[in-house]
């Protein structure tokens, strides 16, 4: 009964209902859109890291710590037999890391020099370009950000200086053979990539590597010797930590959007109660109990939320679908800022996100509809009939 009357009230008050529903719907849409965008960014960052850097997982030299470059000199050895077999079967790729310095255009730049097998297909990097220039002494692959920083172009040569395994400084000339356009800044900024055999020769570390990345479908070897197995979860924990650190800001935004929706409904309900005092009195005179009048206003708020959900599906749903299909082009390249952000952001709207947002918005709308309606319970029918309301 209440539902029927509430629905009639809402449908009857066309413009007022539309404005309430529209405001709620915009907030609803913005919450789903912004959260979807954020989820899309997170998923993209994870996927790019897995595709270009992690693959199925890794085996690390026991001393290797990517956060501790001073230990790179000691964190290398020949591969344990089972890992070696994986590499031979092309199911894994070894990477040898060392600190180095480059001198582009007479400037000194400290870099991480990484040796990688040019024929690998484990991580998504254009390493094959390293094998195409046989006449070059040290072929070097760099990222677009690094090329910008060092003012380097394809064909440019520069001096590379390093310390070999005996602690002796050595230097030679490297030539940029390819500039890769990667979204993963960790492969780009401050990194130069050279063929692993060349790196082993330069560093006098024959057949040695710092870590090995293995293919996505590959399972863990039984015996990795002293080398430490690192799974995907471990390897993406820095991204997860960054996401976790960013959570409060997204939660604040979520709360602001939700508050806007709640305030809109609350305001509309308070106004309704003031403006509809006589109507409330009439309903009481016709025999509606106070509890039912409170229920009526609360149900009206609830139907508001349902209508807002429907409006979010169409036309806002079309916008959500379009952005999920086509993405949103970003105005600039964020690689140099240390963000893994796609050139086109593709929002991800999971069922969980839609259901949880719907439930949350619905719940909030019911609460903010109920709170002002409680004033009705304090009203005397005679006052309400005269249009007087409780303040």
């Amino acid at each position: 009964m209440l539902f029927k009357i509430a629905l009639k009230n809402l449908l009857g008050a066309r413009l007022r209902t539309f404005l309430n529903v529209f405001v709620t719907s915009i907030s609803f849409f913005m919450i789903i859109f912004m959260t979807g965008l954020y989820d899309g960014m997170r998923q993209h960052a994870k996927q790019v890291t897995i595709d270009t850097e992690i693959a199925g997982g890794a085996y690390w030299h026991p001393l290797y710590d990517p956060m501790e470059p001073m230990l790179f000199e000691d964190s290398h050895s020949v591969l344990p037999p089972e890992i070696e077999s994986l590499v031979k079967e092309k199911k894994a790729v070894p990477i040898l890391i060392s600190q180095a310095a480059i001198y582009p255009n007479g400037r000194i730049m400290p870099v991480i020099m990484k040796g990688i097998d040019p024929r690998q297909n484990i991580v998504n990097m254009p390493t094959e370009s390293l094998s195409k220039n046989k006449d070059v002494n040290i072929p070097v692959l760099i990222g677009k950000g690094m090329a910008n920083n060092a003012k380097l172009d394809i064909g440019d040569s520069f001096t590379i200086r390093w310390i070999d395994s005996d602690g002796t400084y050595d230097a030679d000339e490297g030539t940029v053979v390819h500039i890769m356009d990667t979204e993963n800044f960790k492969l780009d900024i401050g990194n130069i990539w050279i063929p692993i055999t060349k790196a082993q020769e330069m560093l006098e570390m024959k057949n040695e590597a710092t870590y090995v990345s293995y293919a996505k479908e590959e399972t863990r070897v039984n015996n990795s010797g002293t080398w430490i197995h690192r799974d995907v979860d471990y390897l993406i924990q820095d991204i997860e930590a960054a996401i976790e650190a960013d959570k409060p800001s997204i939660q604040i935004m979520f709360a602001i959007l939700l508050s806007l929706a709640a305030m809109g409904i609350f305001n509309a309900q308070v106004l309704s109660i003031f403006r509809r005092g006589k109507e409330i009195g009439t309903l009481m005179a016709l025999g509606m109990t106070r509890t039912r009048v409170v229920g009526l206003f609360t149900v009206e708020g609830g139907i508001n939320a349902v209508l807002a959900s429907a409006l979010t599906v169409f036309p806002f749903g079309v916008i959500l679908w379009w952005t999920a299909e086509h993405g949103i082009p970003m105005p600039m390249d964020y690689t140099e800022m240390g963000f893994i952000i796609a050139e086109k952001l593709i929002p991800v709207y999971s069922i969980g996100l839609i259901i949880s947002t719907t439930i949350l918005v619905f719940f909030i709308v019911i609460i903010v509809s109920y709170l002002p309606s409680r004033r009705i319970a304090k009203m005397k029918p005679t006052d309400a009939l005269r249009g007087k309301t409780v303040t």
């Binding site: 009964m1 029927k4 009357i5 009639k8 009230n9 449908l11 009857g12 008050a13 006589k278 109507e279 009195g281 009439t282 009481m284 005179a285 016709l286 025999g287 509606m288 109990t289 106070r290 509890t291 005397k380 029918p381 005679t382 009939l385």
Partner: protein
Amino acid sequence: MENNTVISIQSLVKRFPVGGNFFTALKNVDLNLHKGEFTGLVGPSGSGKTTLLNIIGGLDSASEGRVRVLDQSLDNTTHNKRAKLRRKYMGFIFQSYNLLPVYTVFENIELPLILNKIDPTERIKKVNQAIEWVGLADKRDSKPNMLSGGECQRTAIARALVHQPVLVMADEPTANLDAENSHNIMKILTKLNDELDTSFVFATHDEKIMGYLKRIIRLEDGTIIKDEKTKKEHV
């Protein structure tokens, strides 16, 4: 109902807080109304007629005294019990119609039936019948802002009578109407009083409707100064 008594009031006093004091709106009112009566509470503004009507309708409560309506005591009853009494057995007609602006004539009249949980088929039948009583068949889908004052009041009458209550209370039902409309409204009400045997209680100071009343109770300063039966017979 005992002896066809619809309303029984004994030693009713009603006080309202005004500033730090109390204003006594009704003083020791004793009154009995019977089934089928067509009664007017008549008096100047501030005489207490609307207050008395509100107490009879359970919209307000007495400060002292006993009030029984339709065999139910209204002393110390809950809001819900009073609401149920109004919903099932009473109808209200207001001076300013109090129609719900977003509803059509049909929907306004239908409202008491929805509140009484009458099934939809029966509802349509009863609403159509009420629309016939007040002659608004051509306005059933109009909203109140499209109606004249007389049409609004006829809608309000249909709404008050659609669930065929035992008692209808009308607070200045003709105050906002011109003479012609006032007479039309009163003719409808007298006809329904005769046909349905519904009791009517009016609060009014409109001389135009005095001639339709079967009983006139005159109030002054919260006291009944005269209670007279007219010789008026409607049919």
